[in-house]
């Protein structure tokens, strides 16, 4: 079995001090394997966004360890962590965060610009990424001139441009209508299936969650349930947000021996 691309051990995040203390995460231990698609599901306030921030190295845990490719990252310098994020991760946000003053191509190539790639190389790879998402004809448009679905495709192109190992998607369909959501979900899962990119999705969207290979269901800072296997969303709506009481679930274990998705 290969090393998990991301793993955590006893991950704790506490906000505030003293009586106002809030335990956002209460000691999470799990692994995410290479090439896997994982949905982190839960109500708002369950700690799912906090967990994603820790996994994506945007925040530091109060205690516990996050390891990337088997290497604990908490001891790394901020500059190294920044570089790791730039090289290893791709981000898709609910609010897109596209720069309205720049063209689609400039938005897409931002991670490469930060990485210090030359302009010609950036533009070439940017066009490739846009091509892949069928957005090449919009390359010269301003980002504001696009529809929601198009914006999210640009966002995905930006997330893909540095060939990331892990793609983090925070409510990627939260701002989209259902038809557009479907398209974006398919794009994300195709990337995971066909290109071996590890996909970590934080979502409310049952449809999207059910298409992932594994679902971590969170409540009050703990993973209360874990569901494995892709569900057929059309026929069977999984009660993902309340799934912890469902029958076909396993209690979380310290180490989850889930390796099939990582075989790629």
């Amino acid at each position: 079995m290969s090393t998990p691309v991301l793993e955590t051990e006893n991950l704790v995040k506490v906000y505030g001090r003293g009586p106002a203390q809030f335990h956002a995460l209460k000691g999470l231990t799990f692994e995410i394997h290479r090439g896997e698609s994982v949905a982190i599901v839960g109500k708002s306030g369950s700690g799912k966004s906090t967990l994603m921030h820790l996994l994506a190295l945007l925040d530091e845990p109060t205690s516990g360890v996050v390891a990337l490719d088997g290497r604990p990252v908490s001891k790394l310098k901020p500059k190294t962590v920044s570089a790791l994020r730039n090289e290893t991760f791709g981000f898709v946000f609910q609010q897109f965060f596209l720069n309205p003053n720049q063209t689609v191509l400039e938005n897409v190539t931002l991670p490469l610009k930060i990485a210090g790639v030359s302009k010609s190389e950036r533009d070439k790879r940017g066009m490739d990424a846009l091509e892949q998402l069928k957005m090449a004809d919009k390359a010269k448009n301003k980002a504001t001139d696009l529809s929601g679905g198009q914006k999210q495709r640009v966002c995905i192109a930006r997330a893909l441009i540095n060939n990331p190992e892990v793609l983090f998607a925070d409510e990627p369909t939260g701002n989209l209508d259902s038809a557009t959501s479907e398209t974006v979900e398919d794009i994300l899962l195709n990337l995971q299936r066909d290109h071996g990119i590890t996909l970590v999705v934080v979502t409310h969207d049952e449809d999207l969650a059910s298409k992932c290979q594994r679902r971590l269901i969170m409540q009050d800072g703990e993973i209360v349930d874990e569901q494995v296997g892709v569900k057929d969303s059309a026929s069977h709506k999984a009660p993902v947000t309340a799934g912890h009481s469902g029958p076909a679930t396993r209690r979380r274990r310290r180490i989850l021996p889930f390796g099939k998705g990582a075989a790629r």
Binding site: H53, A56, L58, D59, P78, K79, S82, A83, L84, R85, N86, E87, F91, F93, Q94, Q95, F97, N99, N101, L110, P111, K113, I114, A115, G116, S118, K119
Partner: protein, 427 residues
Amino acid sequence: MKSLDVTKSALSNTLRSKLRTALTVIAIVIGAFTLTLTSGLGAGINQTVDRIFGGFGEDDAIYVVPQVEADAQEQDGPAEYDPDAGAEVDSGFGTGMLSAEDVETIEGLDHVVGVDTEVAAQIEYVEAPEGGQYQAQFDFALNDVLAEFAAGGAPDRSAMEITIPEDWLEIYGTDNPDEVLGETLIVAAPNAVGQTSDVEVEVVGVTQGTLAGVGFTPIPSVALAEEVADINAEGFEGQMPEAYIMASAEIENLEQNEEAVKEALADEGLWGLTVEDQIAMFEAVIDAITWILSGFALIALLAASFGIVNTLLMSVQERTREIGLMKALGMSRAKVFSLFSMEAVMIGIMGSVVGIGLGLATGFVTDGFLTAEDGPLGGFAELSLFGLDPLAIGGIFLLIILIAFLAGTLPAARAAKKDPIEALRYE
């Protein structure tokens, strides 16, 4: 992120809200413009001084005046009475004049090969050969070396010769300075009892007024000045003390012996100055004025720097999301900092380029207008009020960029500190 990309991004970011950037830049422009004008003014006048005195580099004289005057201003309380010093004090004391003994002392110093003296010569009027009497005062005879000549040259110190200023040409009814060379002028000198005696002299030069104040009145030869002084003394009851305004000591090998002679003069209570020293004193005054004016320009720049702080703080606030995104996508704090301080530098560059350009254009155009032949200041020979000093312009440019950078550090640090999670939180 590459430096080139940082610079390009910073430039395009500053151009994003054009009006705001323009207003901030204007404040810098005002500072840069003023600094350019003041430093150009100082450079122009100093260049004029250099040009005017430049021709006298081989002059090997030290000008000697009594030291009492200079000391009087620097003294702290009354000087102790010194009986030995008192013995040397003579009729010249306190009047700022050199006595005959002083002149002998100077003649006796090492390296001094000759001494010319400047006497106080009073004249009643001058008279042209064709008639017409004009009120007049002599310039110092020893100033002959400092004069600018439109025609002819300095009077021979031992002959009865004189130069006249350019605007006196009308006495001879001509515009051409060359035509009056060789003409005669009658100098009427009064004696102690009020009678006048005439001295006939030859005009050998026509002078233009210079910034040093030389050449606006006739310059007599040393011999003429002495002759007039003798007439002034006629009929004086009792012994008239010999007194000289200043003396010019000719020094052998001035460069090597300058310090030695000056020290020897100082020991005798005398003060020696070369032409170069006089230029240096003049330039020091100009420089001081330039610095004071530049101080005001610096205050303008200081005010402008707060404009930069303000503009960039607003910009950081507005672009919180964008900063958060860049940090999430792996931009380091140092790069975020350099991106925003580079924006400040861009504002500084725009402001200084425009300000310096406007300042230079205004300076040269105004200078050309004022010092044109028929302009308000056209009477001064070789005067230029505005000069290009590349070193000063470069210095101003760098100074403004430095100020802009420093002003940008606060907003840039704030941008660098932003937490990507906070910045990207949806509201």
